[in-house]
Amino acid sequence: MENRPELMFTETDIGRRNRYIENGIRVFFFIMTCLMIVPLLLIIGYLFYKAIPVLSLDFLFKNPEDNMRSGGVWAPFLGTIYLVVVSLMVAAPIGVFASVYLNEYARENWFTRIVNLAVVNLAGVPSIVHALFGVGAFVLFSGLGESILAASLTLAIMTLPVIIASTTEALKAVPMAFREACWNMGATRWQTIRKIVLPNSISGILTGVILQVSRAAGETAPIMFTGAVFFKPIAEGDFFAYNITDQCMALSLHLYTISTQVPDVAEGIPYGTAIVLVASVLLVNAASIALRVYLRTRKKW
């Protein structure tokens, strides 16, 4: 070939082929991304469209009426809040601190390997199995009866392994070299954890915990036999209307009931219920993202 610039920069066959493949692959991945987003938007859009006739503040703050054929979602909405908050109050400390122990203190031996294996497997257990365990352990054996407490504990058992797993991820993201530097200066493990490890993993830990809100709020099976009931009106607008030894309504179960068990429900009500559930979860997730962004701006390496 002659040594002329216009020849040197002519596209070769290989170069052309690579360019075609590159463009094709890019389009392929883009389509996959669309396939992921489109159903999500369709679902939310459809729910909103159907729910608009019933959506109002009254819908949120009124009990279901007329055998659940009309009225609002106050009792199930508050019930879901109770279930989620109580279950996280139990699961978050246990999960986070257990994970800190497993990561920062425990040596790798047969015991920790079994614990880690158990955590992974527990995360994969279907929720109906957790429900049966909850009935046996909390409702019957512990004598809690069907109550918010029993249902929340069942949800806590269900969310625990995922909280442990996400906390472990967050702790592992803190470089080992930081810990070694502290130990070399005579810091104890706890001093190292308190001053270096936790401040730099807290955003990841919180994100993992908060993401469990959506799981706990959406589950029906674990609460069905342990504390949630079809219908139980409560004082409207009172955030302390439930006692944790009471049974309660829950959005997920309520949605199931009015969609399948009750005839002649006004068309908008199931969709409105779904919107309340989805919106609450999205709101909490948005808050968690905001928190993470805030904590990340303070990230120090």
């Binding site: 040596r107 790798e108 470089p175 070299a177 930081f178 070694e180 530097a181 502290c182 130990w183 070399n184 200066m185 005579g186 810091a187 104890t188 001093q191 001053k195 270096i196 401040p199 730099n200 990230k299 120090k300 390496w301």
Partner: protein, 251 residues
Amino acid sequence: MKNKIEINGLKVTYGEKQAIKGISLDVVENEILGIIGPAQSGKTTLLKVINRTLEFTQGTSIEGSVMLDGVDINAMSDVHGLRRRIGMVLPLPVGLPLSIYDNVAFAPRTAGLRNKAELDEIVERCLHQAALWDEVKDRLDSLGTKLSGGQQQRLTIARALSHQPEVLCLDEFSIAVDPVTTMRIEEVLKTLKNDMTILLVTNLVQQAKRLANRTAFMLNGDLIEIDNTDVIFSENPTEQATYDYVNGNFG
């Protein structure tokens, strides 16, 4: 001359692998002991035995004894106190994700010191000693992790000095530091040895020659030779391997 550290028949194994195969050596108070030798010869392991951080590595076993001021370190109940008596600088710079001030004040604080004036004094002195003060004195509250690699390494040295150690272990401290700064730190080490005993593990044979009073040559977990530095670097050290390594014939 008093022996600061006495090591007797030290053997260290990682699982199957023998990292240190039975070495005995003494470190004299207020000397700089250079430790040279190619990779995998057990130099870093030796330092980790001395401040008992090898305990964090699983599957290790240690035989033999290490005495600090005549007391067996493995018999000491206060391992954190032991580590504060020994300053440790690792090869790679680590700025803790704290401000420069807090980096240096970390160890005194964990030891219980709360007095602001004393902390200020320690921070300034240690940063001076690590040849970093002039570059950071106006921004002590900016993050230690945002410093350049060489600055972070000097920050690490300042941290190691902050708990006023009796023994300073430097594990190839100059890997991440430019030659000019290395020279400044070497000058500092020469004055520091009036106050403490220094173990200088280095891959730079010439660094040991410049600084060390005595030099130990380690190879594959064995201590080949330990003698005055001018003997090690002379034409006729006891062992041929020492001569070959020092003169760049291998390693």
